[in-house]
């Protein structure tokens, strides 16, 4: 029912998402990281719109709107504001160097694709082939969080994980029930607000958002 051109377009968008996650995995500069995240959101939004247009699912329009408003506009602004206020622009020397991270990323992608097989087999949607990419995005975001030092970049990783989740939901089942989508979006927003508060509190205590300063209390030696 969906013409091949649109399909190819969707698939390429999906590929773009994956590429963006890798880019985020590699990116040292936090401002750029935020931009990449916004871009990811935009791509997600575009894909959703495309799908909505073809399938005529109202849910998807709403979902796209949500994505646009929250992930493309609201959050990046918020993050930029924070970065400016806190003055954390760089996340240098990650725990695992970039090339190493890339190398780890590849098998994760393979694993994700393998994992997606049964799901795609089950899903009835046209876009089911992209589920693997969604999982890959999630796991890569996970990897990003693991390898970064700064709280800020971890947050961004967390958010791109949400992107992956949304993408997965979308291409597996044209989006979750509306009520859930709304709830999730709400949660994400609240999470961001909480984070804001957090960062400024942390700011009061520490002179940077370097997680090494936030080391957990050591277990008794």
């Amino acid at each position: 029912m969906i013409p091949p051109l649109v399909m190819q377009l969707l698939d390429s968008l999906a590929a773009l998402l994956l590429l963006l996650s890798f880019a985020m995995l590699a990116q040292r500069r936090i401002v750029t990281l935020v931009d990449l995240f916004a871009l990811q959101g935009a791509v997600l939004c575009a894909a959703t719109l495309l799908l909505a247009w073809r399938t005529g699912e109202v849910n998807l329009y709403l979902s796209a709107a949500l994505t646009l408003s929250v992930k493309v506009i609201a959050l990046p602004r918020l993050l930029h504001a924070m970065i400016r206020r806190l003055g954390v622009y760089w996340d240098t020397d990650p725990l695992l160097n970039i090339s190493g991270t890339m190398l780890v990323g590849v098998p994760i992608v393979v694993f994700a694709f393998g994992l997606a097989q049964p799901i795609s087999a089950l899903a009835s949607t046209a876009t089911r082939s992209a589920i693997g990419i969604a999982i890959a995005v999630i796991l890569l975001a996970f990897l990003t969080m693991i390898t970064r030092r700064k709280a800020m970049s971890q947050v961004i990783g967390f958010l791109s994980m949400e992107n992956g989740l949304f993408f997965g939901a979308m291409c597996a089942s044209y989006g979750m029930p509306m009520i859930v989508e709304l709830g999730v979006a709400l949660d994400v927003l609240v999470a961001m607000l909480v984070l804001g508060v957090f960062f400024f509190q942390i700011r009061e205590q520490f002179d940077s958002l370097d997680l090494d300063r936030l080391e957990s209390r050591r277990e008794a030696p």
Binding site: L95, F111, G114, L115, L139, F142, L143, M145, I146, T147, R148, R149, Q154, L211, D212, L214, E215, S216, R218, E219, A220, P221
Partner: protein, 687 residues
Amino acid sequence: MHSAHIRFKSIEASDPQLSATSASALAEVLALLAAWLVVGLAGLVRPGSLRFAGRTLFPLGALVSVAIAVVAAANLGAAPTRVVLPFGLPDLPMHLRLDPLSGIFLVLLGAASAGISVFAAGYFRSGEGTPPGLLCFQYHVFLASMGLVLLADDAYAFMIAWETMALSSYFLVIAQHRIAEIRRAGYLYLVMAHVGALAILLCFGVLQGGSWQFTFDAMRGAHLPPAWAGAAFLLALAGFGAKGGLVPLHAWLPEAHPAAPSPVSALLSGVMLKMAVYGLLRVAFDLIGGLPWWWGLVPVALGLFSALYGIAFAAAQTDMKRLLAYSSIENLGLLFTGIGLAMVFRGASMPTFAALALVAVLYHAINHAFMKSLLFLGTGAVLHSTGERNLGRLGGLIHRMPWVAWLTLVGALAIAGLPPLNGFVSEWLLLQAFLASHAVPYPFVNMLLPLGLGLVALIAALAGYVMVKFFGVVFLGRAREAALADAHDAGFAERLGLGWLALGCVLLGLLPAAVVPVLAGVAQWLGVGALPRPAAGWWMLVPLDARQASYAAPVIAATLFAAVAATSFVLRLVYRRRVRLAEPWACGGAGLSGRTQDTAEGFGQPIRHLFAPFFAMRRALPSPFDAEPRYEVTIGDRFWNVLYAPLAPLTDRVAGALAALQRGRIATFLLYALVTLCLLLALVLVL
């Protein structure tokens, strides 16, 4: 498990034993246990008031004790009676049952605790540590829980009672909680009690034998394969041995008993340890079926060893309460030995001798309850008037506190196993049982067991040694410290308590012929075997056959008395010479002082010498050139060093290794999460 309830109900319905009279007996006992609880709760009303607790509550508790002893004794002959209370787990209501075995131990509990409570009424002083009202509460909960242990007829009720017993006694032990080593002792005690309880729980888990019903009836009905029966027995031996101070599970005992206030030490040593004996008897002779005979050798061996170990350590002690604690280890060892012997005889189908051994066990359990409580209370009185536990600082107290001294002497002579007192009777019975052990139809065993005779004899003789040391050093000779001059004798209540227990020792010693048939009845009810009871009269104890062995305690006592009376009469009649007082012979040297006497260490020296392998001994010998020569010796427990000391470091090492898992930065924890996720997913994919 739900069906257990139903099944049990049916038993209830079909149970012919449920006659009105005896059912009421169980009800009465329960009511009395409840009365104990009430007395205890009353203590909480005015926790601070010593007068209330001492003058009112403890005597009341003593009355309840007497009542329990009377009720239980009156119904010893009656058939078992059951009650199911709607407590416990929904599918396992609380089954209670009063049968001769629990009855006899209830008598023990009541009779011994009566004296102890009376003593306690005068003993506790207000001051540091737990307030008297709270002590009274814990004390009576302790008593009630022991009563419940004896009545429990399903695993859950038993565990509840058993652990409540441990818990309440733990709080009693650390009554003087401001002293660090008392806290340490309490900690060790509670931990070992809990571990032992876990072993008992496992034992029940094995005993139910696939029926998955935890009533004792289900266990009686279960038929275990021999291997499992053996496992269950070993678990029971571990669990109850840990409570009964069976070496090497004895580590807590010499710590906890001295730490507790003396009435509590008396309860622990005199009564609570018997709960371990009861438990093992219950499991070995009532619950387990199809246990191979040779399992009986395990308690025999362990029991004899811990008896020898305990008495050797007792001889080496310099703290009077530790000395008594180790002597408890000895006596419990003898009890376990008797149990094992009975098991072997039963397996060898020599029912008469099995019954004899069991009677010896029960008799000795009761005796020890009286003797050891008496001695601990005696030390308590000494402790109160001198504030001193160290034998090296006591002496000559027979002049200051004659009541305590003479009453304690009774206990000391009794536990030393001297005729015509009670300790001798049970040892006599045990020896009689051992004498038959050469007849068991198993090679080697029939050679090995008779050697037990020699060991028991040696242990008994050593007990005499220890008691001479104990009584001689504490009460005789000269005061080793000036402070002892103003020691005062015990108050009325304390004398009364001591007197009650001493009377028990004497009567149990003089009237074995009246007691043994009752105990034999219990043994017979247990299906162990019956003693032939030829008509021998109340004064002549004939366990087996008149030609084989007989003992008439009253006659011996009368003879001794008559001889003493006659001699003194004759001497006074013929040669009336007045006694002159003078200084003792000091080899013409300077006058003697309390310091010139032999010390407790000195008195223990030969034993330390002989049993050197038992002790981890560290000695600091003075050199002839020392300005002020000092001689120090410390006696350590090898088992402690080998078995217990390494545990804490080991746990700590494991904890350290695991702490690494909880250390580090958030990224690390995220990594754990990712790895877990991937592993599980991989697992799912391959599945």
